[in-house]
């Protein structure tokens, strides 16, 4: 690496204004999982912002501690909701990671793996579907388990997280249009996501079912694609921007009330599309709503059936910290008869999934997950609800590892369970 790679390029100067918002008060420290784990100022939000400012002011290089910290950071943005000064941490992190990527400062294996996955597969529905078919096949024949011992450690970790790929019949995309049931209350676009239909088709179908039952026409534009969040988090802003631009047209058919998302990570990225693409994206960005947020705003109509059980709701970081949604899912769950919402400590702290973090930083990811499970375990819930695919996988793997009996679900699945059966069409 040449010296110029680590000197702040002209675009790094754009880091400065955001870092200047930090008055070094430290109120964010205790919200930061990596600080709580290490006790190191360098691994705290305040320390990272200080490093970024140091970089922008030419006081420290990008290579070394800052590059490492940019990736040890979970990107959970808990520091943003703790910061009274409004430091735009998420945006600063994204720019720093992009700089790390441009300077080629990450370990090659991590870059290769992410490039392959995030450029070559995830945003390409056909390839992703083909891979899932292959995986489903391997899982059915247990070939994957046979292969496990021969996999490199990191892939083994990844394998442990992967849920059983559902059969092909459940991995179909949703119909382009579904008509509202009963009295029509409006029309929405539903954003399916890329991983969701493959691994969490059930959640998508539940979402569609609830929206339609609640009186909304649902459009699922075929041209929609991956939101770009994972790419941006890994430092590949170029691909992220490309994907966002493609979605801009696809998600904006004109006269819909809202663009509904059920994956917190995707929702955050779509909501902040205008940060990437400027004002042209604000029309789309401003209409993005998390499914629970939308339903809570609209109000659930009709009686719900009981879903007996004790439920712990765990906030996905990109819902509570990036989108500011925390009351809505709880409201909806509380509306379900015989469902008891139980409290656990720190529901808004990260579970350690953080996009591809559990693959690239397995140790810290496990430590953060352990804290989460420590708070959930004593409550012994029947169900744990959380609205993000990464968190669903992480918590499932974690709970299974500890022998917890809780079923891990998306809140919309619980709402779908509480709906009366559809009228015969």
């Amino acid at each position: 690496m040449s010296a110029s790679d680590s000197s702040p390029g002209p675009d790094l100067a754009t880091l400065l204004p955001g870092t200047l918002d930090c008055v070094h008060c430290g109120l964010c420290l205790s919200s930061c999982p990596t600080y709580l784990e290490t006790g190191r100022e360098t691994s705290s939000p305040r320390g990272r912002v200080y490093l970024m400012r140091g970089l922008a002011e030419g006081k420290i290089p990008l290579a070394g501690v800052l590059a490492e910290e940019a990736h040890l950071c979970l990107g959970c943005r808990a520091c943003e909701t703790a910061c009274p000064s409004g430091v735009p941490y998420g945006a600063l992190l994204e720019q720093t990671r992009a700089a790390v990527e441009r300077a080629g400062l990450r370990p090659t294996w991590a870059r290769r793996l992410e490039r392959l996955a995030l450029r070559g597969i995830v945003p390409r529905p056909r390839r992703l579907a083909a891979l899932m078919t292959l995986l489903a096949f391997a899982q059915r024949l247990r070939l994957d388990r046979l292969a496990r011992p021969f996999l490199p450690k990191r892939l083994r970790d990844a394998h442990a997280l992967l849920p059983l790929v559902p059969p092909a019949s459940q991995r179909r995309r949703l119909p382009a249009f579904t008509k509202a049931e009963g009295e029509r209350r409006g029309k929405v676009v539903f954003f399916e996501g890329c991983i969701m239909p493959e691994l969490f088709g059930g959640v998508n179908r539940a979402t569609l079912r609830v929206l339609v039952q609640q009186g909304f026409d649902v459009l699922v534009p075929e041209a929609q694609g991956c939101c770009g969040a994972l790419q941006a988090h890994s430092g590949d802003l170029e691909t992220a921007h490309e994907l966002a631009r493609a979605n801009l047209g696809a998600l904006d058919p004109g006269d819909v009330q809202a663009i509904i998302v059920n994956s917190a990570g995707c929702g955050a990225a779509l909501r902040e599309m205008d940060h990437w693409l400027g004002d042209e994206a604000s029309r789309v960005a401003s209409r993005v709503r998390d499914v629970c947020e939308f339903l809570d705003e609209a109000g659930l109509r009709g009686a719900l059936l009981p879903v007996p059980g004790r439920v712990a709701y765990d906030d996905p970081c990109h819902l509570v910290h990036a989108q500011g949604v925390s009351a809505a899912p709880r409201h909806l769950l509380q509306a379900i008869p015989e469902l008891e919402l139980v409290d656990h400590d720190d529901p808004s702290s990260c579970c350690g999934a953080a996009g591809t973090y559990n693959l690239t930083q397995p140790e810290m990811s496990q430590a953060v997950l352990a804290r989460k499970l420590d708070s959930l375990e004593p409550v012994d819930p029947d169900m744990i609800a959380t609205g993000n695919p990464g968190c669903l996988m992480q918590l499932r793997a974690g709970a299974e590892g500890r022998g917890m009996r809780a079923e891990i679900l998306h809140p919309i699945e619980l709402i779908a369970r509480a709906l009366p059966p559809s009228p015969p069409s």
Partner: protein, 490 residues
């Protein structure tokens, strides 16, 4: 990175850093330049000094080892908690080593019947109250930074908080301490039952700003949660009338749990932040009043406080409708400092105490000083204690502004001292105010303090360069400056 000086007194050839790595594990010793860069400041950003290394002990034996190695190499050391201190106390001068206690974060024992808890110094203040809540108890000192600051830091600074008015500062809540003295000895001071006989060394260590040793365990008092708590907002047209209400409430014999004033500029900043609580942005000042105690009594006191506020000119005195709203008020109050960060890159949080009856007049003077130096100054403070926090928003990169900030700060302190006040209420002296100690203490007063320090740390190895003025000659030192002859404290 500059090559590190090898010590003459350590093992031949082994650097202090190597010895530390060996003693506590390489992972626990940070020495890369960028690691050290982030430790160059605490909450006071314009005083910086880079440590030579940062060490993270995992238990008290680690602390003993670290202290012994540093001593052997003649290298000073500085304990650090969360680094939220506002007087430069946690930075390492003289190329010292920072002993970062944040990971000593275990609550060791809770004794609900005897109402005390034994904790490690890195436990976060708010976490202790959370952990004992189910026993109906809480830890009373509640600095606004309580969500982040550590109990070790609280002890060192004798921190207060909004509820100091009724419950006192940290010193009223520490029963016993275990600490590593600057010579590496582990000692126990005080006892969980309170008085232990002998000198009150716990009292000496509380507020010693990390200059007497490193606290490794604290036994603190837990207080029973009051039966009823009510919080209300007096909405005032200006700060001066809010101060009048404070005077009237105190004179009437009421002892509220908290009396906090937030001025207009602060309200605006808070309401624009994540801590927004619906405070009226068109008010000149808001007085937050909290009353707690037996349910019947509190009910009556609420009405009396409301009356006092109305008489002093409050347009409205709404009471928090529920616990959630009450928490929002406090989050807003406690996020206030940080929220000021929205106005400029840096914030200088001043801290001085004046006799309560002089609050209105001093506040006017302080605002005048701010205006005269063309600074953005706001006030949010513990009015019940007369503990002022004039906040100045500035940009440390602008040398001219920096100079005006410092000049204004000095004038503010002098004004407070002349009015019979003191130079710090709760943030400590640190590096920030050491040269102002002479405003308040005579050379003989300071010598008495130096002797105490020398009894613990004759070689000044533990947090050197703090609290005591570098220059011995202080022409102005004079008890009259403290107003002992005119104004009774309290």
């Amino acid at each position: 990175m500059a090559t590190l000086p090898l010590s003459s007194s350590g093992a031949p050839g082994a650097s202090l850093e190597d010895e530390l790595r060996q003693a506590v594990g390489a992972e626990q010793v940070l020495t890369r330049p960028e690691d050290l860069f982030v430790y160059e400041a605490d909450g006071l950003t314009h005083h910086t000094a880079r440590p030579r290394a940062v060490v993270l002990p995992r238990d008290k034996t680690d602390v003993v080892q670290i202290v012994k190695r540093c001593r052997a190499h003649g290298v000073p050391f500085v304990p650090r908690g969360a680094g939220t201190g506002l007087s430069g106390g946690a930075i390492a001068l003289d190329d010292g080593v920072i002993i970062e206690c944040a990971r000593l974060d275990r609550i060791l024992r809770i004794a609900p019947e005897d109402r005390f808890a034994v904790v490690q110094p890195g436990v976060i203040n708010a976490d202790l109250s959370k952990a004992v809540a189910h026993h109906g108890l809480f830890y009373a000192p509640d600095p606004s930074s309580q969500q982040a600051c550590t109990l070790g830091g609280n002890v060192a600074e004798n921190s207060g908080g909004p509820h100091t008015l009724k419950y006192g500062t940290t010193t009223n809540h520490v029963l016993a301490l275990e600490m590593v003295l600057p010579d590496g000895q582990l000692v126990q001071l005080g006892s969980p039952t309170g008085s232990a006989g002998g000198y009150d060394l716990v009292g000496a260590v509380v507020g010693s700003e990390g200059t007497l040793g490193i606290v490794t365990e604290l036994t603190v008092r837990l207080s029973p949660r009051p039966e009823r708590t009510e919080t209300m907002l007096g909405i005032f047209p200006d700060v001066v009338s809010a101060c009048r209400a404070v005077g009237a409430i105190i004179r009437s014999g009421l002892v509220p749990a908290a009396l906090e004033i937030v001025d207009r500029r602060t309200i605006e900043a808070v309401e624009a932040s994540v801590y927004a609580a619906g405070l009226p942005t068109d008010a000149g000042a808001v007085l937050i009043i909290e009353l707690d105690g037996p349910a019947v009594a509190v009910g009556r006191q609420v009405e009396r406080c409301q009356d006092h506020c109305r008489e002093a000119g409050a347009s409205e005195v709404p009471v928090a409708r529920d616990e959630a709203e009450r928490q929002r008020f406090w989050r807003a109050r406690k996020g206030a400092f940080g929220a000021m960060g929205r106005l400029a890159p840096d914030l200088y949080v001043h801290d001085a105490v004046v006799p309560r009856q002089k609050l209105p007049e001093i506040l006017e003077k302080i605002c005048e000083i701010g205006d005269r130096y063309r600074l953005r100054l706001s006030n949010v403070f513990h009015a019940g204690d007369g503990n002022l926090h004039p906040n100045i928003s500035f940009d440390r990169r602008d040398p001219d502004e920096m100079e005006r900030v410092l000049a204004a700060g000095e004038e503010i302190l002098r004004t407070c001292v002349e009015a019979g006040g003191v130079i710090t209420g709760e943030h400590g002296v640190g590096t920030e105010k050491k040269e102002y100690m002479g405003l308040l203490f005579s050379e003989a007063d300071l010598d008495a303090m130096r002797k105490l320090r020398a009894a613990f740390d004759p070689d000044r190895m533990c947090n050197p360069g703090k609290m005591f003025p570098a220059t011995r000659f202080c022409a102005e030192a004079n008890p009259k400056a403290r107003g002992y002859d005119q104004v009774p404290f309290g």
